[in-house]
């Protein structure tokens, strides 16, 4: 019998290696898998590369991982938030590396990894500082039908941590509102995807027409009691 439900976060995250690339879902406050991030903190893996849209709020979640010195590099689109002071400090003192990626390129690079695409040409960022490699050299460009494009590579991960709403034992998932954000594509891009759900349902209970992430992209599911998503990082 296939049963992807595991009884605890600790069990789901056991074996996460030092140096792993970990994708973490969430945009702003919506869709952040808080319990899984806490679990990763407890699990102890170090030297991590985190892939997320942001770089942590206040002192919880991603910020706690950063503060604990467990993160070598952050790949994200928007590290600066009103309460992102933990990242700000580490970045300014050179203790964490940043790869800044336009949000749509970030999403598409993640999607490409999950879809087996070896990269793509995008118009986003052409002619800007983000069409350069970290060493300052220009990324490959190409003119296609009179328009200029930049070549971007896929982003693969060893582990994806995502927050869903309902799931069954085959790992089929649905999400809640804008908390969906990066979940479905990160689930595709990682060798191992761990999802939390607030509702565990029997096979057949999710409408097959409405499954958002088919179970093939999910390796472990943990049921977590619902806690209302909190405000945070709001930019006036």
């Amino acid at each position: 019998m296939i049963n992807k439900f595991v009884s605890s976060v600790a069990e789901a995250l056991a074996g996460t290696a030092d140096g792993a690339t970990v994708m973490i879902g969430g945009f702003g406050t919506a869709g952040i898998p808080d319990e899984l991030i806490e679990g990763l903190l407890a699990q102890g893996a170090r030297d991590l590369t985190l892939v997320n849209n942001n770089a942590g709020n206040a002192e919880q979640g991603l910020a706690a991982l950063l503060k604990a010195g467990r993160v070598r590099k952050v790949i994200c689109s928007f590290p600066r938030q009103t309460d992102s002071y933990v990242f700000d400090g580490l970045y300014r003192s050179g203790q964490v590396e940043l790869e800044l990626v336009p949000q749509g390129n970030l999403a598409e690079r993640i999607r490409a990894a999950g879809a087996g695409i070896g990269g793509f040409f995008t118009p986003t960022g052409y002619g800007t500082d983000l069409a350069k490699h970290v060493d300052g050299s220009l990324k490959e460009t190409r003119e296609i039908d009179g328009r200029m494009y930049v070549y971007e590579t896929p982003i693969y991960a060893d582990l994806a941590l995502i927050k869903a709403e309902r799931g069954d034992r085959w790992g089929n998932l649905t999400y809640r509102k804008a908390a969906r954000n990066f979940g479905p594509i990160m689930a595709m891009a990682a060798r191992k995807t761990v999802a939390t759900v607030h509702e565990q349902v029997a096979l057949g209970e999710l409408n097959p027409e409405s499954v958002v992430t088919p179970g093939i992209f999910v390796q472990a599911v943990v049921k977590i009691d619902r806690v209302a998503t909190q405000a945070g990082g709001i930019k006036a």
Binding site: A30, G31, S77, D88, A178, I234
Partner: protein
Amino acid sequence: MSYTRRSKDELAARVAQDIPEGATVNLGIGQPTLVANHIPADREVLLHSENGILGMGPAPAKGQEDYDLINAGKQPVTLLPGGAYFHHADSFAMMRGGHLDICVLGAFQVSATGDLANWHTGEPEAIPAVGGAMDLAIGAKQTWVMMDLLTKQGQSKLVQACSYPLTGIGCVKRVYTDLATLACTPQGLVVIDKVEGLSLQALSELIGLPLSQ
């Protein structure tokens, strides 16, 4: 002759006036968000938010906030009947794929030919953050900028060439400011309208660039 600057709400209303019935629009973080308040009630306009919402509604009543339903500025919003949620790759495909009609953004600088600088001041201490700015700038069928014409120091934000790091090249079609509305064209700036009492010559002097009408 004296003239009065458009207030933030007057400027938002001026932008809203040009958004046609049936348009799909993304309003950027900050001042552009105000435009939503000025779209006439009898005009059906679909608002897109890059975190995965189409058919976004106004802010919820106090106490009704749901922090799983936020806009790109992380502020709580609502969903209109008929609205939809989708993941990030689909959301940015809507932009990059040219499916959005209009995107309204703020800016540090815009060049006469429509180069946009709005993501980074380039100062060494500033934490660089780009979000969806570069995708929005080049993705929508029309990119409009909404900003004060002058900085607090009185320098024009419409320039010959941007000195701040670029967000996109030649992507801005129109600039709505507190003093005038202008089109960016390969030939330079064209005045669409200006506040009463401001002459073309005075506007041209403020901007420091030739203007056509």
